[in-house]
Amino acid sequence: MTDKLFGLVDLNARLELTRFKPVRALFKSRWFPLAAVLVNTFLFVVILLACLVGGYSAGNYNFGIMIVWILWWVMLMFVLVPVFARAWCLMCPFPIFSDWLQRGRLLDVVPGRKPFGLGLKWPTRLRNMWLMNVAFLMTTYFSGFMTVRPMASFILLGLVILTAFIVGLVFERRNFCLYLCPVSGFQGLYAQFAMVEVRRKDPEICRQHKVKTCYLGNECGHGCPWLLAPFNFQKNTYCGMCLECFKTCPYDNMGFNLRPPGADLLVDNPRAPRKLDEAWKAFIMLGIAINFYLAFQGPWGWLKDMVRAATWSGFLTYILYHTVSCLVIIPAIFLGFAWLSKRFSGNREVPLKNVFTNFAYTLVPLGLGVWIAFSLGIILPNGSYLLHILSDPFAWGWNLFGTANFPWTPVWTAYLGYVQGATMLVFYLFTIAFGYRIAKQTYPTLAQARRGWTPIWAGLTALTVFFVWLYTG
């Protein structure tokens, strides 16, 4: 029986984009995505220089701050993650140096070459999102500096690049991207909603193919740098879309598919189970979105003083509140609704942990909507600063494109609340559409699923109204 999203789109529908020759040729070329990575490497050199030269100047007139925290962040939340999954990882320049050193070369492949570096295996206990959860949360402690002070951004970006390099020398392949990168975790989580996927085409071909070249590599490409088994991809979560499996598969059995949004949210099997670390990532992202909104788009000066560390006690209080709200309060409230769901369902067999973890995935579309709405509040008022910094990236008085003196011009801010509210409404629709399906997966009978869904539905509705109030109330 087909399952249609909103009664319109079959959730199993796929359009394989790599069946079109130009797309396939692009994906099989060794220059792709390397060319994009090289362009971004150059861009990040300029960003780092601009941050260094910018020192302590106002961030809204700094190339590094504006490109990273306004343009890149907004593109990430608007397009890259919700549509193209981990497309940023595909073109991310941070691991290029460790990749280069490990492989000995940038473009071509030397089959059988022993990778440079210690090549240690990542500890089994840490093969999850917990480290990334902590890393990202801790990074956000300093949002009051790094998003406004060029030097703080320089330090942060420099640390990330340096850590990626060192981890690449000690551990095999892309363990940094998999388990440490602060921006990797939320991309992985929200990529489950994305409208594209990398998957094998014919499972039988993979079964017959005994030498798993997609994992081991061959003369055409490297074994999966993300240490995954491309022949058995179930979810987007950890696939960095490096496209090596397209190059190494001798049968052209890898496909890049267009699909309905959110298809991965219903995947829960022994190979790709729903997990507590991902659930907590969803809570953390929601908490950060609330706290960022209050601090950056809210009118409360005392909170801004705390975030930008006007006083040490204020800053430490903010860190404490931020941590507790993200790690404890939001999950605790959600646990309350999960408990209610179990009680309402009347089911005694399904563990509360399963109910809690499963329904946490309803926060993926809702959280994405919250972040898109938040990003609208960043780009619409501040986007016009981009025209200035593009013409004068180092604040040296250049006017490359004749826009250096373009005045600050807020765009459509009269409608900001409407657009943010409408965004919440759209993603709330996805949330309840997938929430009910998750209820049916969680409870064994339809009656239990319906009863168990009701408290969760009420909680998600209240949460959406809360965000509408935050943006427009």
Partner: protein, 153 residues
């Protein structure tokens, strides 16, 4: 009279009453807003639709601006030189006012709110969420369905 005509007349009557109520209470409202890096005090100004709003902007440290979303108005102030705005709050909803003169590193986030009551956009959005939610809940839980929960994970 058909049902749709009755509904139309009722709606028109309600809108008229609402408009009369709003315009009847219109008054002049004065606010002295102090700007200091990176906040406005008071940070929320609440008025009724139709009120004439006068704002005197005072700066307590450096050059600050005030740009009012939705109304497209702008003024600025620096110590010893106040700015001013005067307008009729004819658009309901919540609007941000933002510092429009770069005043330091947190400048883009120096924000205050003007709330023009009744906040119709907010009420409409909440109604929309509740309506969509109730329809979704109803479709999911009330309709007769033969299917059983899927455990084909």
């Amino acid at each position: 009279m058909s049902e749709s005509q009755v509904a139309l007349r009722l709606g028109f009557g309600l809108a008229l009453l609402c408009g009369l109520a709003c315009s009847a209470g219109a008054e002049e409202r004065f606010f002295e807003v102090r700007a200091k890096r990176f906040a406005f005090t008071p940070h929320v100004l609440t008025v009724n639709r139709g009120d004439t709003v006068r704002i005197r902007l005072l700066s307590e440290d450096v050059h600050h601006g005030m740009y009012l979303d939705g109304y497209g108005l702008q003024t600025s102030a620096y110590p010893g030189h106040d700015g001013g705005l005067r307008f009729v709050a004819d658009k309901p909803g919540r609007f941000s006012f933002r510092c429009s003169v770069t005043c330091g590193e947190f400048h883009p986030y120096m924000i205050g709110h003007l709330r023009v009551e009744p906040n119709t956009p907010f009420h409409l959005l909440v109604l929309a969420v509740l309506a969509v939610g109730l329809i979704g809940w109803g479709v999911a839980t009330l309709r007769r369905q033969q299917e059983e929960p899927s455990h084909d994970r």
